[in-house]
Symmetry: C3
Subunit: 259 residues, 3 copies
């Protein structure tokens, strides 16, 4: 392989030691084909399905979940993040070095909040390498996966440094008062850092007042409340019930506080 | 790490060779974060999602599925079992040595049936080790995962032997005539060992008589029957149909036999 | 282990380097138990969930998805394919060497299209090895998984060569104008190779005309179209919507073109 002028060489101690997949691909063959390619290239590389059911087609919501998702996770991980309503367009591809981690994603805003929070600790490249052939609709397999392999091998090909301010989503707010992800239990995960919300703040949801509690066991069964979840985000739950069904909310719905 | 007076040292041949996750976490980021932590600590340790969609919040049902789930599985496995409506309470944590296997779970009854069946082959400890910081709601990641790592490394920290009779669920029956788990095909898995049920027993479900058959292919398409499933449990199925929808049953519903 | 007269020895360079699971088992304990057995037998063997939610009980549909699923995947893979409405019958078991890959599946047609496309590059055996004991309903765990282990170890036990023409599905057509798989996004994957369909062909679906587009981004949000998907198959989608809900189609439904 020719190492051209735009190739960034990655020293061994900076290379990812594992790959975490973050997608909206859900159950089905998409994650599996990516894993099969990675397993063939690097049989002993741990590949983890970190999150496969992001809200489909919504990088604008995923952006506010990602900082919570990677918080406290072990350094040395390459997060391969693919959620993109614009697959098939000429969307740029970003590789980001953030502390000891790597991020690889389309330039559609999905990394915007992470990059904003990280500040100067971040290096961002636009990656113009493309394979000889790629499908029109599965860039996760055909473009992102081989780029991930290259990073693991210590090379970032056809990469141009870009300023964070030039990225899609650079002007987005640091947090989002909306439902960004609905989990398996029907809990509503917002795009707000709980530490930024006063402990006496009251949400107004579906005509109800939703107050803060420390944990599920503080509440009566069936009661709605908000709390700081394990990702540091404000989350709305119903003790031993489904908040999505009880409150009639879906991903993308805005959240409002009582004045 | 200080090896204190309550530290149990685990000889190398007794240490788990793989971790099996048994949870009600479903699809989403919870399993993924636990796997990421385990992959960073022990990159070559096999970690298997054995079962991720136990009936939510129901250790009282999971307890009767677990013995079937581990039956015939290879020795040397650490089963990390987290299903707990009481996360955030002061629930104890149990580590159990059962033959060549390990079990790690909250003291909420989820291990009760397994321990009862195993009898004297079991050693049980209450583990009082806690990390310097933990979220209020994701003990699977913050407390159970590091304890699992410690066991794999040969140490059980802050562990006190406890008598099985002192555990939550010690007084539960050895089997449960109820739907304990509904599988992907809509089959209804009970908490009864099929070997304990007479072959001519007839269940009365939703006004129908449900008789035993040996296997799916013995029945007409659409017919409901019970049989000994691959876990040794009584299971109700409808040949090439969904028993849950056809019979209107959900997890937790009781099952009754014809007199 | 006795190497009997019907044992096929597999030279080291022909042995699978990874196992890909292709099933209709969905979420639940079935995949997990198979993985646990494989992890105990071969801890460093990569095992990938390639596809776990094939249309239940429909090898006749899966047959037309498989060629797309394996296309372009790395050589040296053993595809363990279990979708079978006839588990518990005396269905034969097939092991197939197809180029540098292996396939292991029931003789129910699920491999028929792959074998037909591969032509003379294929060797097919009927495997009569059976374990001392097996459940009536989970042959994926009790019979197929140990045979997969044997192949990885370089042995095909009790194997008799069979002619492709003698297999179930040998007379099936090379493609199927029907919905064979519905993906996570509600996209409808057909059993037709897109390369065989004229680019100006128009499908008639639910009273609508569905025309070809190159990719999602060529279309208005909500518009239905067909295109060549990443597996080379004709797929029907609705841009940023669910084609299954919009068009009222489910797996197994036939597809028709305008005359």
């Amino acid at each position: 392989m020719v190492i051209g002028p735009n190739t960034e060489r990655i020293p061994r101690r900076r290379r990812p030691q594992r790959v975490a997949l973050v997608t909206d691909f859900g159950a089905g063959p998409y994650i599996g084909q990516m894993r099969l390619l990675l397993a063939a290239a690097r049989p002993s590389l741990p590949v983890i399905d970190l999150l496969a059911n992001l809200t489909p087609f919504r990088p604008d919501l995923a952006a506010f979940v990602l900082p919570g998702l990677v918080r406290g996770m072990p350094p040395g991980t390459l997060y391969l993040c693919v959620v993109d309503p614009g697959v098939g367009t000429d969307r740029g591809i970003l590789a980001v070095q953030l502390g000891d981690d790597w991020l690889l994603a389309p330039d559609n805003g999905v990394l915007a909040t992470l990059i904003r929070h990280a500040g100067d600790a971040t290096r961002v490249w636009r990656v113009d390498w493309r394979p000889p052939a790629a499908s029109a609709t599965f860039h996760g397999r055909d473009i992102f996966t081989p780029i991930a392999e290259q990073i693991c091998a210590g090379r970032l090909l056809a990469a141009t440094p870009v300023a964070p301010a030039a990225l899609v989503g650079a002007e987005w707010p640091p947090s989002l008062a909306a439902v960004c992800y609905v989990d398996h239990f029907g809990n509503l995960i917002s795009g707000m850092r709980a530490a930024d919300v006063p402990v006496d703040a009251v949400l107004r949801v579906a005509g109800r007042h939703v107050r803060r509690a420390r944990t599920f066991s503080d509440l009566a069964v069936g009661e709605a409340f908000w709390y700081e979840n394990a990702f540091g985000l404000l989350e709305i739950a119903v003790n031993q019930g489904r908040a999505d069904a009880r409150l009639g909310l879906v991903a993308g719905d805005p959240l409002a506080f009582e004045p």
